[in-house]
Chain length 467, copies 2
């Protein structure tokens, strides 16, 4: 027995265990949740996990050899932590190879630019594309443009991403990245190079997925760093005619098999009911995938490990899902929802950690509106860890965002993402960007959430009707 | 006549002008200095200059075609500002071409690194160099190492650069960059890759000059980003044997002619006596040379322009020198000292701006110890612009650092360099890193300094004997 706390808890638990798991008084759950917080905050397991992933594997673009290494790493790591079950489920993922990307302004003033290919982009011809640029404030301005002003040119979408604790600036600007090539091609553009979707002033470009549309030409798509976008604006003050040379050699190479890697703490009395905590295992290829999403992998794994190590397991099963190929279109999340469609009614609640390692300041839910106050009461203990009660607006996270449509309740443990989009999808996504203390606070919150949900007697369904 | 201030100054000046320039009462100089501050703070000329240089020329490595463009830009800019004299002096500069540089850890965990070649480095063989690394805390540890531990390996000097307002951390760590290849070659190393000399956590490597020594093998020298150095340390916790693959193709290509570009406000009564304010025109090639040293170019040029525009010129000549090839070994500064050796006794005082655009908080001198209090009294007006009186420890700046040996007094206008080494010698040295307000404060300080020195009746020589 490790300490007084454990002794106290066992003392509190034993009388209940003689009867039925569901009769454990809620104050015992609260005490256990407090104990989980203390254990999380005094452990460096989470940081060890993300260090191991970023150092021993590093960048792990879905479908690449490094992705396969990450899957093997995850299986081994989860097994070594002693979870009741560790297994993986095959997922077919697209294979995209970055190749090289370069760009420069050739007139009126010759200057090299720092760019990166957007994920999924096609290549330029080998000799590159050299054309005048046409600048737009945002995707809407491009949509409203006269095709005569766009045809034969390289589109430059110049929208800045606003810094915000919630990261909501990203949602406002990311359309230019994801749909810019479609709208540019519709008007006859030769290529598109956007201002990076990021809040930093570093001379680094932010990658991320982009889409094409059937029936429209697939044009090369890249992002430039914020200082380079500023440079072009300063040139535009001097001359309306700016010529850009672009050369990119990415390749879309079909598909490969990757895996959702899963670990479970088997529930003691309702093992077929699932509390799902997820993160994604894949990462972009230019950093080491520390904040996106090595942090999430560490958070949900270390949180579940704390529950695995409890002397008495909670009622429901706590399932850790490390999703494949989130970055390439929530591929693992969609595959999970499909593979587990018949069991989704047994998913009590789900949450995903995919927003770095900034401290969690609030928990939101998407549950039956009537039960929300009771749920907030149940999770009140999380406030001592800095996690305030929120509202019923959660979407849960990218890989579980499709679950509410099947009736699965979700929670969003809101993290402070003030600096998240400084590093997101850049070479700067490295281990030094993670604060070990904040990571431990996240682990405490996920451990408390998972435990309390696995013990909860509340009926969270049905979800509110969609507006 | 623009405003009341000008009218007042002319009123104050005219009686003195009837007699002799040297009889102008000092309070008039103080009033004029205040007026210069006000004009500097309400003008955006400095920012316009550095924007023009970084946008219309950009990176301008000494001896490159862009360097020649920068010289042409400077001549044209100085002429357009209406200085009394604009001319240039030829300087023979080394030509070094960056080529490509890449590196990766190949064992125990394959990971790419972000590196940059150090300026002056030779290339690796075309097939690269693959060898085990040997880590040292700093240059001294390498010097003290057993050659058996170094021979046949790639040296990794892992010294961190401390953040400090004065930038003094740079002086402590830069030896590893400048002399690391010499000490590593002396012990039989194949190459050297240092932790970047910088205070940031960006995944960007910092370039800068390095040296070789006659009689020792010239080995390739590069710097890696701070996160990459952290990555190697994390690997070293897991395995003592780390194998690095390095491939670089820089070339030393002899020499070329560049120029010190010079502008003057001719002195009204002592035109052969010089107050020199300098900066360097060249820059490294990976950023756009904004803080190093476009800022300095803007500061001294805009400061001199304010003096050029005075209704009555000060007694001495104010000379702006935009030095060539500072980055490649103070080449322009040394050439200036040689070319002007016979006239150095007529150099009243010199100062150089080469530390970004952080606000100036203090002025130090290197003058006759006895005159320092009077000089501090004379420059007391600068305190209203935030510039406190300092001490007699100034070295002046890199390109004028050789002048005190010839008896020339110098001043150091100390800037807040807290974040200077975050960006220094990286792709991140771009215009957005300059705060226009701080730039204007610098211009005010240099204008006041240059004006007051051009009017001063103090005898600043002889300099204190060297310790």
């Amino acid at each position: 027995m490790k300490n007084h706390q454990t002794a106290l808890l066992l003392f509190l638990l034993i009388p209940s265990l003689i009867g039925c798991q569901s009769t454990i008084p809620s104050d015992t759950n609260q005490l256990l949740a407090e104990s989980l917080q203390q254990k999380a905050l005094s452990s460096d397991l989470g940081f060890q996990i993300v260090e191991s992933l970023t150092v021993e594997v590093g960048p792990r673009l879905a479908g690449s050899p490094k992705d396969a290494m990450a899957v093997a790493w995850a299986e081994k790591k989860l097994q070594s932590l002693g979870f009741d079950r560790v297994y993986k489920e095959a997922v077919e993922v697209p294979v995209w190879v970055r190749g090289k990307a370069s760009a420069s302004i050739v007139a009126p003033f010759q200057q090299p630019l720092v760019i990166t290919a957007l994920g999924g982009s096609v290549a330029t011809p080998a000799e590159g594309i050299t054309a005048k640029i046409v600048r737009f404030d945002d995707l809407n301005a491009l949509k409203n443009a006269n095709p005569d002003d766009v045809a034969g040119k390289i589109v430059f979408i110049d929208q800045k991403t606003e810094r915000h604790k919630t990261g909501k600036g990203y949602g406002k600007s990311v359309g230019g990245r994801s749909r810019g090539a479609i709208e540019a091609a519709r008007k006859g553009a030769l290529a598109i190079v956007i201002r990076s979707i990021g809040t930093d002033h570093d001379r680094m470009a932010h990658t991320g997925t982009m889409h094409y549309e059937e029936g429209l030409k697939r044009i090369p798509a890249a992002a430039m760093s914020a200082p380079d976008a500023d440079l072009i604006n300063a040139m535009l003050k001097r001359s309306a005619d700016i010529t850009l040379a672009l050369n990119m050699s990415p390749e879309n190479k079909g598909s490969a098999i990757s895996y959702n890697v899963i670990a479970e703490v088997t529930g003691s009395s309702k093992p077929d009911e699932i509390v799902l905590i997820g993160a994604h295992l894949d990462s972009w290829d230019e950093g080491t995938g520390a904040i996106d999403d090595g942090a999430g992998v560490a958070i949900v794994t270390a949180a579940a490990k704390l529950i695995q190590d409890l002397p008495v397991k909670p009622a429901r099963t706590v399932r850790v899902v490390l999703y494949a190929a989130e970055e390439l279109g929530l591929v693992g999340g969609k595959a999970y929802a499909k593979a587990h469609a018949a069991a989704l009614d047994k998913h009590y609640i789900a949450a995903e950690s995919d927003f770095g390692a900034g401290p969690i300041y609030r928990i939101d839910f998407q549950v039956n509106e009537q039960v929300l106050p009771k749920l907030q009461q149940l999770t009140q203990v999380m406030q001592r860890n800095g996690v305030a009660a929120g509202d019923n607006s959660a979407y849960g996270g990218p890989d579980i965002s499709m679950l509410p449509a099947s009736g699965v309740p979700v929670a969003s443990l809101r993290q402070d993402g003030t600096d998240y989009f400084d590093y997101h999808h850049t070479p700067n996504d490295t281990l030094d960007k993670i604060d070990p203390k904040a990571l431990a606070q996240n682990i405490a919150a996920y451990a408390q959430f998972a435990y309390l949900m696995a013990q909860s007697e509340l009926e969270l369904r049905p979800l509110p009707a969609k507006q």
